[in-house]
Symmetry: C2
Subunit: 566 residues, 2 copies
């Protein structure tokens, strides 16, 4: 029967299920099992509790993961191969640094001073132990996620056995970029704390480092800010759609312990209409009609930046939000400010006249003062790229730009010698492609159609159009989910596995470890990534994250056979 041919091809094409791919990896072809008494040892005096918890999670997953190798016949295919395979008895986890900080502490250090590198060695024998070492607990966490991905489940031989086919393995790994983020908009539609925790957990499995939390916007204000309870009680969609201060603590601690820092974005001075539910005195052009004149999307509304009262209110608000989070970064947003909103606002015009300043002066002052508040709170200020490229606002020394409108803007930002992260709408926006949500634009498309496929995202080069001396300006990047057409119901399926593409680009770097392009339309590198991404997708589903299928399972089980010309 002709199908047999497929199986033979695949037995020789054993794809390692690592995502992101380590920057240096050597493997061979010996099968290795985990001993039934396999243990993870660590000889770290007074280990931080979050490191112990991370090791416990790894131990637990080595028991509970049921993901089998994606080949025809699944784990049964490997029954004979692994029958007499050597059994790994233990993994020794050790720190090469005497100063032991918790993972949470390491994960919230300044972005350019974190240590995430690790070394992982897996022998091909029953005698030697595997070793994982790093000079930070954060590095150990990254190494543990790699260790977990090395194993497949075998469910035939009575109970589950974990095995791999590629030992010995030598990995020396560290991220190409420290900033590897996901931006979540919780304002257009709300996500539960559980949704966020589940997402953060999955992010940690692919070594992501940042949850960029676009918490509020013109539509709702779901955050209970100390000193400003009225913003949420009046600005949230409902009392059950508010992040309490303990919710925020819970999310931040959960994330930090998993190596993920939380960067809160309180967008301003645009995208702030919802502040007006509690404080109409601070909002110009609230839900003013027609909204197209006054905002990029409904409802219109911006902070009255010319008002000294509003500026003062904003400063105290930013100060309070800044103090909610342990990290060293925070964003004041800054995208899509609309001049007619202020031009047609009587109060703003009166303030400008009284102070004898222009709206540009007021905007500059607002930005400088808010960045000052963030800097004083020891937060590196993040700002949206259009505030710099379109509005030319003065920025703080330490300011990081979020380059979003187009991937082409990265070069413009670099030309200004500003540090930045990539969030290009033409590559990374997870929400694009669902058509128009504006009410009576009945056959329209959304501005960022079409859908950004995983392949499109994966073709992004963080160093495109940059000179080598500009490379150090790139802190990393993030894929955002804007939530006009998303909610709890489709969170997993719209995010996963595409978000992992960003994780690999910014961990592994602008090329594959061997220097070849990540996607080459004339080569098979795209295919190699697909096989690994399929594995990640099935592993995510196995762990309860509802990642979408990228292919028919027939293709998944036969890597390469659904390629063009195959």
């Amino acid at each position: 029967m002709r199908y047999v041919g497929f199986v033979l091809v695949l037995l020789t094409n054993c794809v390692s299920a690592l995502w992101p791919i380590p920057r240096s990896i050597q493997t061979s072809s010996t099968a290795l099992k985990l001993s039934s008494t396999f243990e993870i040892h660590f000889n770290i005096p007074n280990p931080p509790s979050d490191l112990s918890a991370a090791i416990s999670r790894t131990r637990s997953r080595l028991h509970t993961d049921t993901f089998e190798r994606l080949v025809v016949g699944r784990s049964e295919t490997d029954t004979n191969t692994i029958q007499h395979a050597p059994e790994l008895q233990s993994l020794l986890v050790s720190l090469t640094n005497d100063s032991v900080k918790s993972i949470a502490e390491e994960a919230t250090l300044p972005i350019d001073s974190r240590s995430e590198s690790y070394q992982l060695s897996i022998p091909a024998s029953s005698i030697q132990r595997a070793t994982l070492s790093a000079n930070s607990t954060l590095g150990l966490l990254r190494g543990l996620t790699t260790f977990e991905q090395l194993w497949f489940n075998h469910n035939i031989t009575g109970g589950n056995t974990k095995y791999m086919l590629n030992s010995p393995v030598q990995i020396v790994d560290s991220p190409a970029f420290p900033y590897r983020g996901f931006s979540l908009d919780t304002a257009r539609n709300f996500y539960s704390v559980d949704d966020i925790l589940r997402t953060v957990d999955a992010m940690s499995w692919v070594k992501m480092s940042i949850l960029y939390w676009h918490v509020a916007d013109s539509q709702s204000f779901p955050l209970d800010v100390p000193g400003f309870p009225e913003l949420a009680t009046q600005g949230a969609y409902s009392t059950s759609e508010i992040y309490s201060q303990s919710d925020v603590k819970k999310i931040v601690q959960f994330a930090n312990e998993r190596g993920i820092d939380v960067v809160m974005e309180l967008d301003s001075p645009g995208h702030t209409t919802a502040i007006g539910f509690a404080h109409p005195e601070h909002i110009a052009c609230p839900a003013k009609s027609p909204w197209q004149t006054y905002a990029n999307e409904p409802p219109a509304g911006q902070l009255r930046i010319a008002s000294p009262d509003t500026l003062n209110f904003s400063k105290v608000l930013f100060q309070s939000v800044a103090q909610m989070l342990p990290g060293t970064m925070m964003s004041s947003g800054g995208d899509e400010v609309n001049l007619p909103c202020w031009e047609d606002d009587e109060e703003t015009q009166a303030d400008l006249t009284k102070r004898n300043i222009t709206i540009a002066d007021a905007l500059n002052q607002f930005i400088v003062e808010i960045q000052g508040v963030l800097a004083n709170a020891k937060k590196m200020p993040f700002i949206k790229s259009d505030m710099i490229l379109t509005h030319n606002v003065p920025i703080h020394n330490n300011t990081v730009a979020v380059v979003w409108q187009s991937s082409a803007d990265a070069a413009s930002m670099a030309a200004r010698n500003v540090k930045f992260i990539h969030q290009p709408s033409d590559y990374f926006y997870l929400d694009c492609g669902a058509g128009e949500w504006v009410g009576n634009d009945v056959l329209g498309n959304s501005w960022c159609d079409p859908f950004k496929t995983w392949q499109r995202a994966y073709s992004f080069d963080p160093f495109a159009n940059l000179t080598e001396s500009q490379h150090s300006l790139v802190l990393g990047g993030q894929m955002p989910l804007w939530s006009e057409q998303s909610s709890s119901e489709n969170l997993d399926s719209i995010v996963w596995p595409r978000l992992a593409v960003g994780a690999e680009i910014f961990w592994t770097g602008s090329t594959l470890p061997d220097g070849t392009p990540r996607i080459n339309p004339n080569a098979t590198s795209g295919t190699n990534a697909l096989a690994r991404l399929n594995e990640l997708r099935y592993r995510l589903v196995d762990r309860g994250v509802k990642a979408i299928a990228l292919q028919p399972k027939w293709c998944v089980l036969r890597p390469g056979l659904c390629d063009l010309d195959s």
Copy 2:
């Protein structure tokens, strides 16, 4: 505060939450509550158990639904309005026909002889009772789903109260088309029985009448066919990805009792590679390389239609599958047959030579014989439109075409005087827009990109380009989900609420009940549909179906305010 203005606008804009919109409805503006002792009575001697069960489900939902009216303030907004509202004591359900069949029997009658009409009358007083009458149990079921949609939950006044704001209500309703379907591909990726039951249940809430089950394809054969167990044991993705005969019975009974007939499609002679796992002797060009030469998607493989053995095998197989289902329709597929597959198949060429016939002769014979098997099994044969429009095969008197390649093909089919259903890829394909899934077409789009938005689907006119005398050829239509990039993980979110668009088009007809176009780019009819579709979406979520958000909740709670120019 300026936001107050929105609330005032909305109190006067009370949108009825009916989907699909009844073909004749009169409402007024009296608030009405369900009495705490509200009861549904029916004086039908020996009621069929599925009617009793349907009434029980309605009773239950009137207690368990927690969906609140979509206005700012939600149900609290209506607290005063309903405080002294009259209380409806009962609904009387009655049949106007002495011959009582079960819903399941009615739902599996020949498609053109079903009775789904009903009349529903809701008074505006505590004294009169509501009445629902129909001359079939199936009509009563349709009326019950309408009744359920009339009520909103009020959760403030201690316990839940159901109310409406539009009484009295008079509805006289019947479908414009009997065939209102959803086609699900369970071959490219598998869906659990629970996935299918959940989907069927939701389909019944919007009065859909057909589950068109594309059960097998080239990638897998997940159906346990009586007499052919090897097809599934060798052709399914795994032993846990098989629909057993009892699974099929369960699904069919569940669907039939909810007014939904199951039409199984066993695609042939193309899209059959998976039959070759068990029967390689019947498959030409199995997974032959390069697949693009031999099939529209990998893997290649078609039935050896020139082989008498294969024809006989196919006839017995179709006969067996036909006997699995009680309905009067079945499809033998017929899309995308590929001539080079047979031209390059030695066995097929030998058979053609031996029999001194052409491949076209063999195809004609195959189609005629298979349609004959279906007709003998009392199944109206369904066939894909390209088999008629491209291959000009002879068809049975009673054959129904599934017009799929383009909406423009409907007129061509009507010109041949063939009955058909609409399944236009350019309007109705739920899976489009996710980009390419072929392995190394790294930046490619799928053939049916872009995403078919709900607005696009809703703009479809079933009578476009048809003469009035051709209207009776249109049995209805269906939206399909092809599963190359879908699976259990995103089933709800890719299907809902868009599938409801098809439900309304084919229930309510080619225009709105008042004769105006369903979507008019210069009018507000699109907006009205959006408000109702938002209500349906929130009701689906309330009942556990993970339908996607169509708008930010800010817009949902303020119908019209996110329209262009508003």
